[in-house]
Symmetry: C2
Subunit: 573 residues, 2 copies
């Protein structure tokens, strides 16, 4: 703070002049001493001036209520919400989340530094304070064509940006262990900054090696023993509770008063409808408390703990000098949010925004749609006679896949799919550089009987992924995605039945959360009427091209055998 701001804050704190706002008579959640304190909270110039008995030009009656620091999500991919930062803010703020640390990994894979700058611009000055980690793994692998490549020298250019706190989750733990030059260069460039980790099941000496580089967190733990080992080695364990990956129940027994300072709750990836219907960190705290965690400990895990880890010394507590990001709660069991204040201004009440959020800067336009050589024939697999083919076999309720070898046969027009068979064509269409790359394969377990589904959300390179039973329909689906500059589309019986445009890098909508939810509902309705029996086919699609999760994947360069980390032919010899 400048001297002038300090002066005013001191005057308010001492009671020499009235506060801008006083929250009267509530119980403050004291995250330092893990206690509740009945006291007024005086706010001035966006900061907390004092706790005690205060007069203010405005007051909020908090009798019978609890006052918590604003919630901080320490690890979130905004892109998974399909919303731009500016459109996400109105969804998160009423739930009590006032800050988050985002890893714009998806955006960076599509648009590189330009994409990161967009995320910074689109979140500048929002009442939801968004910090970023510089994506460490763009692209995730050399087995796919991503929109951008970020090398250590590119990331270095982000070091001095105020809202970039460090290096994003280092998913390439094999690269770390192999002492890959580029990987170590990135870690070394961020040696004075926070470095997030991502190392599922890594253990023992390999985990030691990974941690020795200064990587300070992990949000991939699924078992207590794994979490305990990582905690013991000094990692902040981020207990993830997102839309899909939900580790709270399994990891909660780990938490004790003696170790909780090193633990956080994070969401990682959240679907927009979950955020709107269930909430965000508020619902995680509620679940944790329902499962027996002390509410103050739970609140520390989304306030003081992330603030300490990320060095956000102005956030995470209700105390003099801290930014007045406050959540007024009806109780500490259901964590019902009554009101939310950001920098001392009421921004939400009873689940509704009380102030309009003006998106910063220009309307988002960040197209990445450069497809060449598209033709229905490109989705046909040439085949004469019978052959053994490798099929991506989905596993129910998992994103892991198996490799199944299946006898297929050719007819006129190439490979022919038997109507009774749960087998579809799958293709990954390169969309960033007009390479004309299309990788072709087969997938089983999706329950698609007819039609085609296409999406520009396909981790991590976000080429267009399309599944279908018919080359013409697949072509139509991809052409529709292209025309929308990205998005999701359902085609059945030769016609587009529903679409969800995602024109911002092919990842995010430029519509509000309400609109996106409505569009998603329409899409789901069309899915019900389509020939697909799978509950969340687009979620499955989004992972089919991710060549770091075993066992068989498809990228624009072809089928990937993940275990051997190489492109393999579709047909067996």
């Amino acid at each position: 703070m400048t001297s002038k701001k300090l002066q005013k804050l001191i005057r308010v704190a001492r009671g020499e002049i009235p506060a801008d706002l006083v929250l009267k008579g509530g119980q403050v959640v004291n995250v330092f001493s893990s206690t509740l304190q009945k006291t007024d909270v005086a706010v001035s110039g966006g900061r907390i001036a004092g706790l005690g008995s205060y007069l203010g030009r405005e007051t909020i009656d908090c009798r019978g209520l609890f006052i918590s620091p604003g919630f901080i999500d320490g690890h979130m991919h905004i892109e998974s919400s399909l919303l731009t930062p500016a459109n996400l803010a109105p969804v998160l703020l009423p739930s009590g989340t006032t800050s988050l640390v985002a890893d714009p990994h998806e955006m960076a894979n599509v648009k590189g530094l330009e994409g990161i700058r967009f995320m910074l611009q689109n979140s500048a000055g929002l009442p939801l304070e968004i910090f970023f980690m510089a994506p460490s793994c763009v692209p995730a692998t050399p087995l796919e064509t991503s929109g951008a490549i970020l090398e250590a020298k590119d990331l270095r250019s982000l070091l001095r940006r105020q809202r970039i706190l460090g290096l994003g989750e280092m998913m390439n733990f094999p690269g770390v262990l192999a002492k890959n030059r580029e990987v170590l260069g990135k870690i070394s460039a961020f040696r004075k900054k926070i470095k997030d980790g991502h190392a599922p099941l890594l253990s023992g000496k390999d985990l030691c090696a990974y941690v020795s580089t200064g990587i300070g967190s992990d949000h991939e733990c699924t078992r207590i023993s794994e979490a305990r080992e990582k905690l013991d080695l000094g990692m902040r364990v981020m207990i993830r509770q997102g839309s899909q990956a939900r580790n709270l129940k399994d990891l909660l027994p780990l938490v004790t008063p003696s170790n909780s300072r090193r633990l956080l709750f994070v969401s990682d990836d959240m679907h927009p409808e979950d955020l709107m219907e269930k909430g965000h960190l508020n619902s995680v705290i509620k679940e944790a408390v329902a499962q027996g965690l002390d509410p103050i400990t739970a609140l520390q895990m989304v306030t003081l703990n992330p603030a300490e880890y990320f060095g956000l010394s102005h956030l995470g507590a209700v105390a003099p000098g801290y930014q007045a990001d406050l959540v007024v709660l009806k109780n500490l069991s259901s964590i019902e949010v009554k009101a939310v204040l950001k920098k001392g201004k009421k921004i939400a009440e009873k689940g509704l925004l009380t102030e309009k959020i003006t998106p910063p800067g220009r309307r988002p336009s960040l197209s990445s749609m450069n497809i060449k050589g598209l033709h229905p024939d490109r989705f046909k697999i040439p085949l004469h006679g019978r052959r053994q083919a490798k099929v991506i076999q989905l596993i129910p309720d998992q994103i892991l896949t198996h490799t199944r070898v299946c006898r297929v046969q050719g007819k006129s027009g190439g490979l022919h799919l038997d109507p009774g068979q749960d087998l579809s064509l799958v293709a990954s269409v390169e969309r960033h550089h007009g390479t004309g790359n299309i990788g072709l394969g087969l997938v089983s377990g999706l329950g698609l009987r007819r039609g085609a589904l296409a999406s520009s959300v396909a981790h991590d390179s976000h080429n267009i992924i399309v599944v279908g039973r018919d080359a013409e329909e697949m072509y139509l689906a991809v052409k529709t995605v292209e025309a929308m500059k990205g998005g999701l589309v359902v085609v059945t019986r030769g016609r587009v039945r529903a679409r969800l445009p995602l024109p911002v890098a092919g990842l995010m909508s430029d519509h509000s959360a309400e609109e996106v939810r409505a569009e998603k509902k329409t899409l789901e309705k069309a899915l019900l009427n389509s020939g697909c029996s799978h509950k969340h086919p687009f979620m499955i699609l989004s992972f089919l091209a991710l060549p770091v999760i075993p066992e068989l994947r498809i990228t624009d360069r072809g089928l990937v055998d993940v275990d051997h980390f190489q492109i393999v032919p579709l047909f067996e010899n």
Copy 2:
């Protein structure tokens, strides 16, 4: 770390190449999970590479022993030890202290920025890692002549120094509350850095105001209620246990598993003989454990907790990537230190240094002795007849003083001291700028029957303080201090009986700890044979000129009424 260093660390961590050193079979104090872990500790290039089973080119057998992170003293004035940083290191290292955060407040009051630079130079590259806080209150008051004045603009020049972590204890809390421009300028200059506090008994709204400026710690708490209030407001409470001020017993009941992360043990001021005979933080932990504190919690309070507060992310834990500052302990009850490693090298064993410490740079010479107009007559108080005089009345076992009004009488040669009266002359002789200032007063309660004592250690301006019954002897004492370029001296019966030279700014010896202890012993012996009945007269002397502690003090400008913060005449009207 650079990529190259990372590479090697990874290789060692993975067991691909042997470690430099392995501590085998000990129990590691895990400060993250508050547990003990039986495991080897592999060290490479001064860092911890891994925990697990390792081979090393060297090993240390730690079976039956405990391995703690090196201790960090979060607040210490090196000058109180009378030793230079380079001479303090051999004393602290065998006790387990491997790092400390020093506030060179005394040095700065004498020599300003030059003094701070000296402290930086004299501690550069030592195996005892010394960080500094920029002294915030130089001078402490305008009622005395200090050697230097440090304004906000001067302190700003220190901001980019790597080992300067923030702003030193802001003792001028009245200045903060009064919104003093210079004070707020200093705080504002260090807004992105740590700011230490010092606010004894400050409470309520004034404490809120003080804390609202971002001041993050306090080491002046004497009562639980005071400590709790400060903790609740977000301050790190540093429980001080020094040579004189000892708050451990009173504050220990505050510590719980739910709040201990915000608590530290610090020493503040330690006499050299205490450090040599009792130890440093090791003895504080021992005491705390003896009083019932969990040993792991106690160890966290001198390892992870200070490291977190000061943002020293490479220190404070035994985990991969952390600096290998390790203390091998025989047990967790008496905290008996078996061996100490700094950056992976054994530096001490069984209380003795195992490697010679080479003092960095040139031999210390930092004289500050510029006295003008000295003459025996200047120590005489002109008085004819009888008058009422203000006398500094000492209070047993306290550094507070009272104002006592006393009838005195003049003879030829001025004020005459009755032989039966416990009354001495006291003078503060300006020594920095040759102003010729000498402040004169009277002190009672020292039990001085004859002779004179003089010292160049006199908080905070460190002018020469001298007490005596006779002007000639006082003159001799001051002249002797001047000739030594600083130090302590005992004069009786017209002769110098003992002296302890402190030529480094008049504050520190350039001798080793052993030599200083011997010199101090000689001094104490001379004191026993002198006419002084007080146990620690030099300690009392050192506070007589400190015009921020009530009630009556003496500076080179005269008698100071601390409560009214002004110079007052010796005689009543």
